[in-house]
């Protein structure tokens, strides 16, 4: 059965001129010349004030009292702020957060108070003078103890929280959401399976580590207009959440304006609303003065979103021929103190925890569990990286147990178009098998390689991946397009240029339809006053969704252009086409009308009057086939995901037997982009995402003490890769099985490239040394110690 889409995009162009080329990025000159302006680079004049935050030193405590007297009298201080000033809740999918802590703090680093001062130094000094008295409570630091029957409640009022309809919180527990999938009959399937493997895998928390820290400047002007300049992936969502949270102060959406210039990396960490609301709220108390709040690198680690940890209990049943018959996946998420965004990570993982395989009998439980650790939230991969570690490790172990080649085992079960998904809808067109084959070929799968160094061994690994955009079923995108006098184009959209090349890709889509070269198209970063709506730049969905909005705007502009020509010259619209920035006609080969001649001023008719005028157009896209409503006990009945992007990763790794050091000698990554609108930018996502994923398994290791305080919130102790810590060679492979409703067939690839990086290393380590490491990260220490045991045993 094939999924049908009510909207079929323009994918039939056989002779594409711009789409499919490596057009040079349109933000390139800005960024390489030093011209690119980030929020922290903007000037706000002598009135600029600076904010500093007072943070909880305890993971769980009741606030007994806050004494701000000394801070209020300190030099340079303009205003001191506490939770009493803003007793308002907010949240992306579930309203479980306050702007500043009210009566309790729930993680180390939570904001308790703030100081606004004339200089950054004065704000930081005064913040140290605020005295907070706490009654310290016993924190819950791991998800398994937080779901124990006698566990204290971190959010006793959970049952009263407002949330989206597809969440199922369990009142009077620490379970903020429980995504269940029940399909087929797992009990019988496991009983009848030839082989069943059951084991537990653990994945810790991770930090995004965008090099630009979160920063926001907010100003309430004397006309009660709140403007927030912010380093964000989500300008419209931020405006919406600011307007809703601050509604008691009289704000409506039109009074709130969010401006997002270039952003220095996001990776999910700058999605939704985290610290930005502190700045926005504080600015409302000092009318007329812009207030800057810039997080330190330490705050970046412990008081923005973290990637959630998970304990994954996985059971898979297979027949001797390699057919997977049942999957039972229980995911216990360490979601942290507030789950307003992170609960949707849990939801997304629960919907898709079978991985990219055809599975008739499924039982998934994905539990969003409150703990007294920093709030979990979106991180590139959105739950999929986490569960793929265990799943793809399991796949290798099962293949070995039944005597089947791991690549062949994956090929046999790979999900293809029309296969039924865990929630009953059907799989979109998928290049899964091509991706597996091309990766296997690229790393010479099946050919053992010997190291020339007697101390090292060479191992190979493969791991597949899939991911769907996780978003509300009606998340939408919009675009405005206008021509200029010289036939150049300005496009406004509200997706964010995070570095992925979004602006360039939008220009390429418009260029393809309107035949105006990419160099003559400017695409602007968002200002919610002027740019049309975009939900957020997350979920790897903007090439697809915002791309469709731009495609529709370009098609509308083209129709308006043809209409003017028709009015003046009488040619039928369907005889007209665009070529090299001019209108041509199939019935009159002599006819050529350059766009620059009329897209602003129109065309003069024979009698001297004018037709046409400025060519402006708009486009919007909202998926109309999605539906997040489903049976809470089975997950059946809805169509929550728009489509999946699939792919495969393979590595050749050299491992030192004594030290456990891993060198990735070669890595290949194939991803089904549907259509690569800009193959160079897709390759950029492949290499960058793969390295970010390898870092989670080889280097990064977040540590907390027994009180829940993060011990390594800096780049000295939390190691992200340097130029030395990358594979010797990366082979990017672009598979193109078109997405029927994608712009020119495109679907997203941004997050996917890091998803299989962790299990592929675990599998290569096993292949080389015969040791199976079931907890991330797969550090040198773990490899060396495990190998030592196998040698001495």
């Amino acid at each position: 059965m094939t999924t049908t889409f009510p909207f079929e995009a323009e994918t039939d162009s056989d002779e594409l001129k711009t789409v499919g080329t490596g057009a040079v990025r349109i933000d390139g000159l800005d960024k390489i010349s030093g011209a690119a302006e980030f929020v922290d680079d903007m000037d706000f004049g002598p009135g600029l004030l600076h904010a500093a935050i007072v943070e909880s030193p305890h993971a769980y405590a009741r606030i007994v009292s806050i004494d701000t007297t000394e801070a209020e009298n300190a030099k340079g201080v303009v205003r001191v702020v506490t939770g009493k000033d803003f007793p308002y809740k907010f949240g992306m999918y579930m309203e479980d957060r306050y702007i500043f802590a009210q009566d309790h703090v729930r993680f180390v680093g939570e904001q308790v108070a703030g100081v606004i001062a004339r200089s950054h130094r004065e704000a930081v000094q005064a913040a140290k003078l605020i005295k907070v008295e706490y009654e310290v409570l016993e924190p819950l630091l791991d998800p398994k103890s937080a779901v124990a029957d006698d566990a204290d409640l971190i959010h006793p009022d959970l049952g009263s929280y407002t949330h989206v309809p597809w969440f199922f919180p369990k009142a009077d527990t620490n379970i903020a959401h429980w995504r269940k999938i029940r399909k087929g009959d797992t009990e019988t399937a496991f009983a009848e399976a030839d082989f069943v493997l059951e084991d537990t895998y653990t994945v810790p928390r991770y930090a995004h580590c965008a090099i630009e820290p979160h920063v926001t400047v907010s100003k309430l002007d004397h006309a009660d207009r709140l403007t927030v300049w912010t380093a964000s992936q989500s300008p419209h969502t931020q405006r919406h959440l600011f307007a809703e949270a601050l509604a008691p102060l009289g704000f409506t959406h039109k009074d709130v304006r969010v401006i997002t210039p270039y952003v220095g990396g996001g990776f999910g960490g700058k999605a939704g609303v985290s610290m930005e609301i502190l700045g926005a709220a504080m600015a409302t108390l000092v009318k007329g003065r812009p207030v800057k709040l810039r997080f330190t690198r330490e705050q970046e680690f412990y008081n923005t979103y973290q990637r959630q940890g998970v304990v994954a209990e996985l059971k898979i049943g297979v027949m001797n021929d390699g057919t997977i018959t049942a999957v039972e996946h229980k995911l216990y998420w360490d979601a942290g103190a507030y789950v307003e965004y992170g609960a949707n990570v849990v939801n997304a993982a629960g919907l898709s925890a079978t991985g990219p395989y055809r599975v008739p009998n499924i039982s998934n439980d994905s539990l969003c569990i409150y703990t007294n650790l920093p709030p979990g939230g979106p991180y590139r991969g959105f739950g999929y990286s986490e569960f793929h570690f265990g799943l793809e490790s399991h796949m290798d172990r099962i293949a070995e147990a039944i005597g089947m080649d791991p690549v062949e085992f994956r090929r046999k079960n790979a999900i293809v178009e029309g296969d039924e998904l865990s929630y009953g809808a059907h799989m979109n067109p998928s290049g899964m098998i091509e991706a597996i084959d091309r990766v296997a070929e690229a790393i010479n799968w099946g050919v053992e390689e010997e190291s020339e160094n007697p101390n090292t061994v060479i191992g190979k690994g493969v791991a597949c991946f899939w991911k769907a955009p996780a978003m509300p079923p009606n998340a939408s995108s919009a675009s405005f397009l206008k021509f200029n006098e010289d036939g150049s184009i300005n496009i406004t959209v509200s997706g964010m240029e995070l570095g992925q090349g979004y602006l360039t890709v939008m220009a390429q889509i418009a260029s393809e339809i309107l035949t105006v070269p990419v160099e003559k198209i400017r695409v602007e970063t968002p200002d919610t006053d002027r740019n049309p709506y975009e939900w957020q730049t997350v979920a790897s969905h903007v090439t697809w969704s915002s791309g469709l909005a731009v495609e529709k705007a370009a098609v509308e502009a083209r129709a308006k252009i043809f209409d003017v020509i028709h009015q003046v010259y009488g040619y039928e619209d369907d005889s007209l086409y665009l070529e090299n920035e001019a209108v041509r006609c199939t019935t009159d080969p002599e006819f050529v009308k350059p766009l620059r001649d009329f897209v602003i001023d129109g065309i003069q008719t024979e009698e001297g009057t004018w037709r046409g005028g400025p060519i402006i157009a708009s486009g919007k896209f909202m998926p109309e086939f999605t539906n997040a409503n489903s049976d809470p006990e089975t997950g059946q009945g809805g169509h929550p995901n728009v489509h999946y992007t699939v792919g495969c990763t393979g590595v050749v790794a050299e491992i030192d037997k004594d030290t456990g050091r891993v060198w990735v000698r070669k890595a290949a990554l194939a991803v089904d982009a549907g259509r690569a609108i800009n193959p160079d930018l897709v390759k950029g996502q492949i290499v960058g995402g793969l390295v970010q994923g390898l870092a989670t398994v080889l280097y990064e290791d977040m540590r907390f003490d027994e009180g829940g305080k993060m011990l390594n919130p800096n780049f000295t102790d939390y190691k992200i890769p340097t130029a030395f810590d990358i594979p010797d060679e990366v082979i990017p492979i672009i598979v193109e099985v078109p997405q029927p409703d994608g712009p020119f067939g495109a679907r997203g690839v941004g997050e996917h490239t890091m998803i299989a990086a962790a299990p592929v290393i675990a599998n290569a380590v096993y292949n080389a040394l015969g040791i199976r490491i079931k907890s991330m990260p797969v550090t040198q220490e773990k490899i060396a110690m495990s190998y030592l045991e196998t040698r001495s045993g």
Binding site: C209, A210, I211, E212, G264, F267, R297, L498, L681, N714
Partner: protein, 153 residues
Amino acid sequence: MEVTVKVNGERWDIDVAPADVLLDVLRERIGVKSPKIGCERGDCGSCTILLDGKTVRSCLVLAVEVDGQEITTVEGISYESLSQLQNLFLSNNAFQCGFCAPAIVLSATELLDNNPNPTRHDVQEALAGNLCRCTGYEPIIEAVLAAARGGAK
């Protein structure tokens, strides 16, 4: 204290306090914004500048220390036109978000000034003090090696 410093060829005589950090003075007093604030402890390299031709992390330098010296940032390098290295950064997609790019251009510029024929390892070593979370470094290394070859692929 008054210090005299040349920034991208322009002379500044500027009063600074003993505790003023060079990065802040460059950004807030002189208005040169390409050196970025990323960690304020010398880990990330985003605040890299050329001080008398040598890369330093300006977050670890006090403004009073640079009296009589010459500072170059990417604004200075780009003033007339982009360098060949910068053009190769463009054609190799050697940056994504662009936040670390000005600093990385400076580290690579210093390398090529001192070692016109670097190996891959030399390039990795020269860039090892600049963190980039987007690119995975590979396109940066390729751009620098291409520049060393005079732009040839």
